[in-house]
């Protein structure tokens, strides 16, 4: 099993507590939560995109590679973004539309890592009547190493 049972999957819950576009302050840190990344969560994510590389599944194989053990795929930040934020975070607002992302990768996340996130809106603007927010996110492991950093844009529900 994954940590999903503790995760609130009803994104309407706490919807009234989330900031709307008007209230989002660029530069202000978002509340985040440390998250223990399990092998089960990594492998469930992998299955959802058809990832089957032995670096994610075969400990004996992974130990013999330069990585020295199992790792998560770089795109694991897709999961970490929701795992490291509370239910009142505005990324969960129903109708939030992802308009593009760019990510840089430093060290791989590994099963058993405790992941932390530093996140904020960096900018917001209106374009063709649509309400955009630019987000800035950095994930760290328990050693303080940067795992990856990324910038994204979402269109906020009007």
């Amino acid at each position: 099993m994954t940590q999903a049972p503790a995760f609130e999957t009803d994104f309407w819950k706490d919807a009234n507590l989330r900031k709307v576009w008007d209230e989002i302050v660029p530069g202000e840190p978002r509340k985040t939560l440390p998250y223990k990344l399990t092998l089960e969560a990594i492998q469930l994510y992998c299955r959802s995109v058809g990832e089957d590389h032995p670096l994610y599944f075969d400990e004996a194989y992974a130990r013999k590679t330069p990585y020295g053990g199992l790792i998560a795929p770089p795109s694991i930040h897709i999961l970490l973004m929701f795992a490291c934020t509370p239910t009142d975070d505005w990324m969960r607002t129903p109708g939030t539309i992802n308009a593009g992302q760019s990510w840089s990768y430093n060290k791989p996340a590994r099963p058993g890592d405790t992941i932390t996130l530093q996140a904020r809106a960096l900018d917001k603007f209106i374009k063709r009547e649509r309400l955009f927010v630019v987000h800035d996110n950095v994930f760290f492991n328990q050693h303080g190493d940067v795992i990856c950093s990324g910038r994204g844009q979402t269109i906020r529900p009007a």
Binding site: L44, V49, E51, R92, S102, I155, A158
Partner: protein, 150 residues
């Protein structure tokens, strides 16, 4: 042919995996990503319009494209001892249940820096009609020593 920085040429292509999109695949991505936005779950909700857009039903997560592009790049890079260092994407069209999507990479340029070597790759995801649903650019590092700073 095994991939190496030396034998790569501009225009070389990387073929990614075909991926069949279904209600089940979208639901599994919800569980894998913890992204339970009703855009991906709730047909009634999707009867609404979003600004000027009406999707007419649930849509695949844009980040599912991102995950699929990553899978293509890492499956290509790992055997060469190379490392995916960057991926930038934007979504061009919604993807829906019943679609089949496939990422593609094209080597755009190679560059050596003071301490390493880099390959820039244009990436694209197409659906079964040949329409482009996502596009972007990736950067893969080919370390000089062949050793990975993992």
């Amino acid at each position: 042919m095994s991939t190496s920085f030396e034998n790569l040429s501009v225009g070389d292509t990387i073929n990614g995996p075909k991926f069949d999109v279904s209600r089940e695949s979208i639901r599994l991505f919800c569980d894998g990503s913890l992204d339970y936005n009703p855009l991906h779950l709730d047909d009634d909700y999707m009867k609404n319009s979003f600004g000027k857009t009406n999707f007419g039903g649930i849509i695949m997560h844009g980040m599912n494209n991102f995950g699929l592009i990553t899978r293509m790049l890492t499956d290509w890079a790992y055997p060469a001892g190379a490392i995916q260092r960057r991926l930038e994407t934007r979504w061009l069209k919604p993807v829906k249940p019943g679609d089949t999507i496939q990422p593609l990479g094209v080597v755009k340029s190679k560059q050596s820096t003071q301490k390493s070597r880099w390959v820039l790759i244009d990436v694209l995801v197409r659906n079964q009609k040949g329409e482009h649903v996502a596009a972007g650019e990736a950067m893969v590092e080919f370390p000089v020593s062949g050793s990975i700073a993992a």
